[in-house]
């Protein structure tokens, strides 16, 4: 018997695939899967969240408390406009709006769980007329009416829970972020719907839609001045301002709503009240 060592050919136990090619194929597939998963989850969670009773949403939001003290005059004026808007919007039974004034420079307003709408002093100071204020409140109330806060919370929780479960603590956690980008798109849909509903409310209150687009002009001007995206995360999910202005213009035209009319000014005392409230916050 003879024993000898023979050369073994190279590459028997190694598959010759370029690692970058492998990465591209796998990563592409994974991202596609996750986007699909997030889309389906978002769709179904959003669909189901609408059926959560509003009372339950109130309970969820019961821990939410906003400081609204000693702003009597401001609150009174805002409540008056708010009541007009609510009356014009035909909210479902049991749905109540709680308006909060926040004494802060932030140029923003938002609606959250439980029908709570928060407006910041920074934005109120910039509003040119009551019509724009009504548009702003109507927009936020429309979010509540459409159940947008509970839908986005439901969506967000479902998606992060499932992605957390599937991807876990592995290296693929990075891929979970791709899910967040698709969420932005859903929100724009909501914003468009809220704009539409709000414009209708403004038309019902004033008999015309003039001044409603001033709200977006104010936001646009502010954004151009600010230049950056500092503290603007919430508004960035909104469609571009000029697109919104065009959209509500064409909406008014197709519905035959009057786009001309008398603008209702905001009483001067309201602005002086805002100034006083700003000073009191600085002290």
């Amino acid at each position: 018997m003879k024993f000898e060592q023979r050369d073994i050919p190279e590459g028997i136990n190694v598959t010759q695939v370029h690692p970058l090619r492998e990465l591209a194929v796998l990563l592409g597939g994974a991202v596609l899967l996750i986007v699909l998963l997030v889309y389906l989850l978002g769709l179904s969670a959003g669909f189901l969240a609408r059926y959560i009773p509003f009372e339950m949403e109130l309970e969820l939001a019961s821990s939410f408390s906003e400081e609204t003290k000693s702003e009597g005059d401001i609150q009174r004026y805002l409540t008056r406009i708010n009541d007009q808007v609510v009356a014009a919007m035909a909210l479902p039974e049991g749905m109540q709006i709680t308006l909060h004034y926040n004494n802060d420079d932030t140029v923003n307003a938002f609606a959250t769980l439980g029908g709570h709408v928060v407006v910041f002093r920074g934005l109120l100071e910039k509003l040119p007329n009551e019509n724009a204020l009504a548009m702003l409140l109507a927009h936020e109330i429309a979010h509540v009416k459409h159940r947008d806060p509970i839908v986005s919370v439901g969506r967000g929780l479902t998606i992060s829970a499932v992605l957390g479960l599937v991807l876990g603590q592995s290296d693929l956690g990075v891929l979970g972020d791709t899910g967040l980008y698709t969420l932005l798109h859903f929100n724009r849909e909501m914003e468009r719907e809220a704009d539409r509903e709000a414009l209708e409310a403004v038309y019902r209150i004033y008999g015309h839609t003039r001044g409603a687009d001033d709200l977006f002009r104010v936001l646009q001007t502010y954004r151009e001045e600010a230049g950056g995206d500092d503290g603007f995360e919430v508004l960035q999910t909104h469609p571009l301002d000029w697109k919104r202005i065009n959209a509500i213009d064409s909406l008014a035209r197709t519905n035959g709503w009057d786009v001309e009319g008398d603008i209702t000014p905001i009483p001067e005392t309201f602005f002086s009240d805002l100034k006083r409230s700003e000073k009191s916050s600085e002290e």
């Binding site: 018997m1 024993f3 000898e4 060592q5 050369d7 190279e10 136990n13 190694v14 598959t15 695939v17 690692p19 970058l20 492998e22 990465l23 796998l26 990563l27 597939g29 994974a30 899967l33 603590q169 592995s170 290296d171 693929l172 990075v174 972020d177």
Partner: protein, 151 residues
């Protein structure tokens, strides 16, 4: 955002360094395999009949770990299934390196053959999280040496 940057840096580093190390290692393996070509390593348990040779255990062991890039590809493979090609070359290198170390030891002893060659693989990290995934590959066999002194 910062997480994404860290991820990309680790991936790039893992890829570049890992590929470079692998290329150099294969060059070294092929060169040393050529050098030790004349020392046969045989899986048979029975030495050639008729020869009276001394026996000695020889072994070579390698511990390998993975780079970030290879591990990421392997994790992705978890989703889809299929060949984990990024681990294949790594384990191939470990086996050949272990065998070479064993042969180098046998060569120093002046062995004619190494019989009954076996491999053993042990996972060091045992699939635990937050540890470096590493595997030990051990090659061992019986070196047959020409008798040092006449009986």
């Amino acid at each position: 955002m910062i997480e994404l940057i860290i991820f990309l840096v680790l991936m790039t580093l893992g890829y570049l360094v890992g590929q470079y190390a692998e290329k150099r290692h294969y060059e070294s393996i092929i060169k040393r395999e050529q050098k030790l070509k004349n020392l046969p390593t045989i899986a048979s348990r029975f030495p050639p009949p008729g020869k009276r040779l001394d026996q000695q255990l020889v072994m070579g062991s390698t511990v390998i770990s993975i780079d970030y890039f290879k591990r990421f590809i392997a994790t992705l493979r978890n989703l889809f299934g299929g060949r984990v090609t990024s681990y294949e070359s790594l384990l191939d290198r470990a086996r050949r390196e272990s065998l070479l170390r064993m042969k180098e030891q046998a060569n120093e002893l002046g062995a004619e053959y190494v019989f009954n060659v076996k491999y053993e693989t042990a996972s060091i990290s045992k699939g635990r999280n937050n540890t470096i995934g590493s595997v030990e590959v051990l090659a061992y066999g019986t070196a047959l040496l020409r008798p040092s002194e006449a009986p």
